[in-house]
Symmetry: C3
Subunit: 642 residues, 3 copies
């Protein structure tokens, strides 16, 4: 695994570049990402390119022996470009233009901006596409960041109408698919269709779902246009894009298909603070991040691009954008880096080389402080470089457990939660966490992924199930656990004929006749476990495998397939994981709270996410090759697989 960093030569005097490059190498880094937001320096005026500084920066880095990932700068079109076509900006759901002054101020559907995006990509690729040091490209930056996937501009409306026409052929077909008869919402032509915002009350959920799919497709085609140019003009280089954490606004499997390598931007402390974790978790893991945050994304994004992935932005210290911004414990940066290696990362690149003293991210730490002294992360990077040297390159094998993830599902529940605590990402994360707490390695896969070869398959929920997917599942013999609301919707977000679980009824003969969403604090009591948030009434000849004390069935099984008709608590998840592991012949571990395990083909890694010492000798993994079984907070320990 390579180490790297994100570097912005345009932020620093040219005199500093060579020494920066030298220090990168000294620190054990071999990859550098540049160019991300540099449009105003590359093309300071319409059509006038200033390549000089970038030529020199690339040479300097290359001369130091660094390989370079070059970015297209399309996340930050300069002011002159925006002024030349003011309608290129996105329009927010409230109808306001999202103007110049920060970044991502463009609408994915604007044809003029798409032309500009291709033009600047082509200009960069023509100049540097065959440069010896350029080994990879990043398209744009963090598609969708700051809520920029959805736009409600005229350009978007126009493109959406065309998308609908292409999808449905006739407006009658669309009216039927969406159920537009419901409130006299029928259209006479595609031209009558608007985006689903600023309606008096909620718009038709089918309308919203198609708008989300359309918006995702716009990201895909925007990206694909850059990729095509890069492949053409820069053959043999990897193309990537950097995904974000807990972010489902576009379909990353779809974008991933056009990439060679999926990368993501890993900020565990910020993610802990900003998402649904409890106050207790936010305090317990204040300076570590919750132990499954990074791993979850590693396994998710590894499934987005044929297994090749990396971290292009790794948090090296406090950040600037969360409500509160503590510093990582000593050792966490190394832990996060090594954990990525254990999950098969090709590289981990720190964001950023040196903390910038100006502008929006001046409070975001780097490997260097703004005064160029080493920040604490620098030594951790060096330490990791040593470990990499010691244990050598790591191969990873297919995991024994698969977990199915669907962006479409995230949209469905976002549009129609039916109970405000039904959060798709949280449900999936809880299931993933239940597996990881017992030491299992997991592949998070798309709905299209082949599932044969896995010892167990977990589907936290999948609202819209196709006959083809059922056929694939039918052929599996391993234990499969499928969660609530699965099969409850058609492809167009309507209720399937014969009710939920729709196509799934072929495998598990049950009918969900009624559902309840439950307010916080209301639970259904099982034997040592509870359900909350969501419970279904099931009609079936099966007798439930697990039921509430009041007799209501919760888990129903036929053959190798279980269906869980409620939102399970951690105890119920533990129970199900144990039963399934028993059936699948999977070894479970009893891990102390805060410890996580991950295996490569050759090594076993353990990570201590707790803020206190933990001795893991009892795991019986023998003598470590790196670290000690008596683990300090934020420690990593590595054993060879015997």
């Amino acid at each position: 695994m390579k180490l790297g960093c994100c570097y912005f030569p345009e932020h620093w005097p040219e005199e500093m570049w060579a020494d920066d490059a030298r220090r990168m190498r000294e620190m054990g880094l071999s990859l550098v990402r540049i160019g991300e937001f540099a449009w105003s320096r590359i093309e300071p005026e319409p059509g006038r390119f200033d390549w000089g500084w970038l030529d020199r920066a690339i040479e300097t880095l290359a001369d130091a022996g660094l390989t370079i990932m070059l970015c297209t700068p399309t996340a930050t079109p300069p002011k002159w470009l925006v002024d030349s076509m003011p309608d290129m900006v996105a329009i927010d759901e409230q109808g306001r233009p999202r103007g110049f002054g920060s970044r991502r101020h463009y609408c994915f559907s604007h044809q003029g901006y798409r032309e500009q995006s291709r033009r600047i990509t082509r200009a960069l690729a023509e100049r540097y596409g065959e440069h010896r040091a350029i080994t990879a490209w990043q398209t744009d930056n963090e598609y969708g960041c700051h809520d920029t996937v959805l736009s409600f501009s005229d350009a978007a409306a126009e493109a959406f109408r065309a998308w609908c026409a292409a999808r449905y052929g006739t407006v009658e077909a669309l009216n039927t698919a969406w159920g537009n008869v419901f409130w006299s919402m029928e259209y006479r032509s595609f031209a009558e269709i608007d985006p689903p915002h600023l309606t008096v009350t909620e718009a038709n959920p089918s309308h919203w779902l198609d708008y989300r799919r359309f918006a995702s497709d716009q990201v895909v085609s925007f990206n694909a246009a850059q990729v095509a140019i890069l492949r053409d003009l820069s053959p043999g280089r990897d193309v990537t894009h950097n995904f974000m954490g807990f972010f489902t606004e576009f379909d990353h499997h779809d974008v991933g298909r056009d990439l060679d390598v999926a990368t993501w931007d890993s900020y565990p402390l910020g993610f802990l603070e900003q998402f649904w974790f409890s106050e207790e978790e936010k305090t317990a893991y204040l300076r570590q991040g919750h132990p499954d945050i990074a791993a979850f994304h590693h396994d998710l994004y590894r499934g987005c691009s044929d297994g090749r992935w990396g971290i292009i932005e790794q948090q090296p210290g406090p950040v600037n954008w969360a409500r509160f911004n503590p510093a990582p414990l000593d050792g966490m940066v190394a832990l996060w880096t090594l954990e990525a290696m254990a999950h098969g990362a090709e590289f981990v690149s720190y964001f950023r080389w040196r903390q910038a003293p100006f502008a929006q991210e001046q409070m975001h730490a780097g490997l260097l402080r703004p005064d160029s002294a080493d920040a604490p992360a620098a030594d951790e990077a060096r330490m990791v470089a040593d470990v990499i040297g010691e244990i050598g390159p790591q191969e990873i094998a297919k995991a024994k457990v698969a977990l199915v993830f669907s962006y479409d599902a995230a949209w469905v529940y976002g549009i129609q939660p039916q109970g405000q605590s039904f959060r798709y990402l949280e449900l999936v994360y809880e299931w993933y966490s239940a597996l990881r707490r017992r030491g299992l390695d997991v592949d998070i896969v798309s709905v299209d992924a082949a599932l044969d070869g896995y010892s167990a398959v977990f589907v936290p929920t999948l609202p819209n199930i196709s006959p083809a997917w059922i056929k694939d599942i039918e052929e599996l013999t391993c234990p499969i656990l499928i969660g609530p609301r699965s099969g409850s919707k058609t492809h167009n977000l309507t209720i399937p004929e014969g009710l939920a679980p729709g196509e799934l009824r072929k495998l598990v003969p049950i009918t969900v006749t009624r559902v309840e969403s439950l307010r916080d604090g209301v639970v259904g009591e099982g034997d040592g476990w509870t359900i909350s948030r969501w419970i279904e009434e099931v009609e079936t000849d099966l007798s439930p495998e697990l039921a509430l004390k009041d007799g209501r069935g919760v888990v129903f099984a036929r053959d190798n397939i279980r269906y869980c008709a409620a939102w399970p608590d951690r105890s119920l998840l533990d129970l199900l994981v144990e039963r399934i592991a028993g059936e699948a012949g999977l070894d479970l571990m009893d891990l102390p709270e805060g410890i996580r395990i991950r295996r490569t083909a050759s090594h076993i890694f353990a990570f201590n996410y707790a803020a206190h010492d933990i001795d893991v000798s009892a795991l019986g993994l023998g003598e470590p090759v790196v670290g000690s079984a008596h683990m300090a907070p934020a420690a990593t320990v590595i054993w060879t697989i015997l």
Copy 2:
């Protein structure tokens, strides 16, 4: 009492209609409401009517022996109509148009849309006005739903200016009435007046109050225009409109005056979740609704239309629109239906016949599931039909207790709460609840209602009191309890000469010299009771009937009239109800928590809102004719009045 349902033939294949109608009859239903949102099917293109399907639907239902309530479809103008005059939509308080894509996308003040509303009403009335099966009409649907009474469009501004001119004659009169001198807000002509939104800080409360009155009047006249056409072209049929729960945006007494029958849409579980109830109440009554929600509205709306009323939409299972959507306990649908009967409903119609598998309300239960099987409510409807058969039609008598309700009051306190916990609806509801907890039947009446004949009168608060009302009250000899802030405002929301309680001082010689609103948790301690939220300083020669421990008077009485100068807690309300009942010769009952009682002319009903069994034998009402005195959760029991 008739049972019925809401049916949307346009949502289902024509082949299903006859069987649906047959099953309705089998289930004991005799009334069906149709046509509510069908404009796009009735008039698919401007001026081209497609009556065929509706003709056939009406015949099919009529042939099955059902009587029909037909609706005007004006809540959902089709897209082609909106596109033909885009300024017909309302403008929200933030200045944004409220566009097509859901429902209620029109401004009540738009003259063009008013013309369309009359045109489509006339077209329907001409075609079906004399049809044998059409026994009733519903105008539009749920006026004001989704916050649609207020609009800030140009059409509304124009209409408001005319309304002001009509009301005040001269702009000088308006300036004086509103106190516009205050911040140089004086107008030189009516043309200078704008709606009171988007001001730098709050607009003049008098301005707001008149805007609310104007907006309410616009609803009244919009409705009246449809009613006039229906009366003309469909003689002998009842005209109704369906009101909502906890909704005070227009004056329902005013709209009710133009109707034959008031109807309302009863969703007790959703209302519990969405309104001010405590966490404890929301949990205790999760699947029942708070025990006074339905009754409160029955008694309120019965007072809006000369006593004739019904439920046109009764919740039959989980709904889709609350934050959380649990299912009713078994028996609750029957309980709700029978409780409506006990309050004098002419009909209860379930919303809806069959759950729609598509569009916005696909998660809203019906009597049938989307797959046409019976939903749980179906059997409860059958059971209720049996009970109706057993005990026969119920007459109700005037209650012994009147509670005065004023929409104007709701607006006054909404505009000028003075303390953020002063909520008019909550105050009235608490007083109503205090009466119901002791087994009293209550009429909720308007300020104009004749009060003679009642044994006791409760006025939770009435800010603006006219001399005429005082004269009426003066003639009463029964005990009267009048709550805080009564008489504190003139008709224009200014402070009356001589201070609060204004005209009321003629009856109770007190002067409110100063008021306090109190933050949550701050109380004034009485002897076994407290006050909170609001307390007044009273200057008077009377000695208080009840005072705080610190000596501050809270209840002041002269002759038969008491004034309560604070927001009372439940204990103080109980104490006052007991004293007044003693004076009025009213029998109070000691009801277990969760039990409610209601009498018709011939029967006594008891309802168990608790989630556990309760034995009510101790009430000594003898042998029930329906049900058992050992009441299960959600049980109803009925005795004959001896």
Copy 3:
């Protein structure tokens, strides 16, 4: 000290004026403020002035022996004026116009309105500038109230561009100063610059800081234009403007420089409710206000205008604008008034004479009730007038302790809090409170103020420190305590070369290498004290004076200067105040909770803010000249300094 009131003759029938004036005098008042919002009465139509009523009002008041403060009415331009140039209104951050219908509906940058402001000021000054009774002028009213300092109008954008050009000279200089290279935010000309709102994510903090400075400068120049006219046409009269509480949207030191007297509007109960105080404090001081609220502003605004200051609006009873509006305890109005005297006020004027029965502030108490009877505050005013007579005029001396306050700092932390609980005003207030709890008198001074002569100097935080300030500090020998984040930013809100604390490193040789913001509930434990919210990692050869139990240094000292590298709790502040007082030879008092002390040149005042009796005999101040050492709630006691 004079007493006075705010009077609106235009609100009352002319017949009442003479008696009102007579009663003011009887109550002990000698100053009356008028004219504040009277534009529509002064100039009812464009260019037509109606001076008659105002001439008569002024004569009536003058004849009664009252001196008059006359206001320019520019906070409330009439409707005809707004209609004549609709673009004069401010545009809010969301892009919406802030229209007519309340007050402050103008943009400070609109040239047309500036011309109108000068025109009406000149008209008033020409007519009354030399009137015998006019002794003072107030410009406008409460600049910035209702969030009106910032506007995003075209006029503001245009003015901002000019401001930038004047400040930076070249756009390249601006690009460099702001770090616009960061996200390709570079401008090619000043004309390309927009206000920093409606950006996709946060705009550049340097952009925001300059926008805030620009907006503050617009207030300064708007005010200065009125002042110039008044000085010209009304020589010898004091010019003032009324500031507000806890309000930092413009630089009051800058505005104050153009005034003769700073005044402020003191509403302690509303401020307690609306600001950051804990639930416990809000309950304990419900009817008193927190004991440091009024004093904090007295000392702050005294520092804004060369020591001359007064209260022009003193809360006399419940107000209308807080979430909850309780009444002051009996005695509080007198306490507040006498406390102002103890801090050197030239006058205290109650808002308002008589409660208005109409419009927005009808629930705001006055000295008289709307029915003209005395409100409770009237007697308290009389009592204060007596005390003033008894103890005579009070001189105040420079305090021994200085606390440095910076509006620029408030903007910096508002723009870039880095942790959401880092609130500048709260930090400063806590430090001020720590001093007051030990009986110290404090001068709150600007960054430019001369600090020599003080026995101790406290700088809660000062992000941007100039070499000149360092030089001034260097010359001081008294103990100085400087708080976290000081010196952490350059003048343009970037990180200084050599890191925080920037220039301060010359005095205290430390480097802040990393900072953490901490979520609520997370603390660092010291010995009997804690830190929270914010902590810095410090690199230094100094050994810390105080450290956390884990060894992390918190307080670092060299010579007479201490730096506190965290947000201290009250215990740590107490400890630091004790140490510094010891070093500075300051006497500390042990004051019971709720008691505050303040000295004039001749007297010592004690104020009981608690809601219960407190005996302060133990303070050993001897026999009071006013009041008793056994203090009732809201009591004031005064001793002569021996």
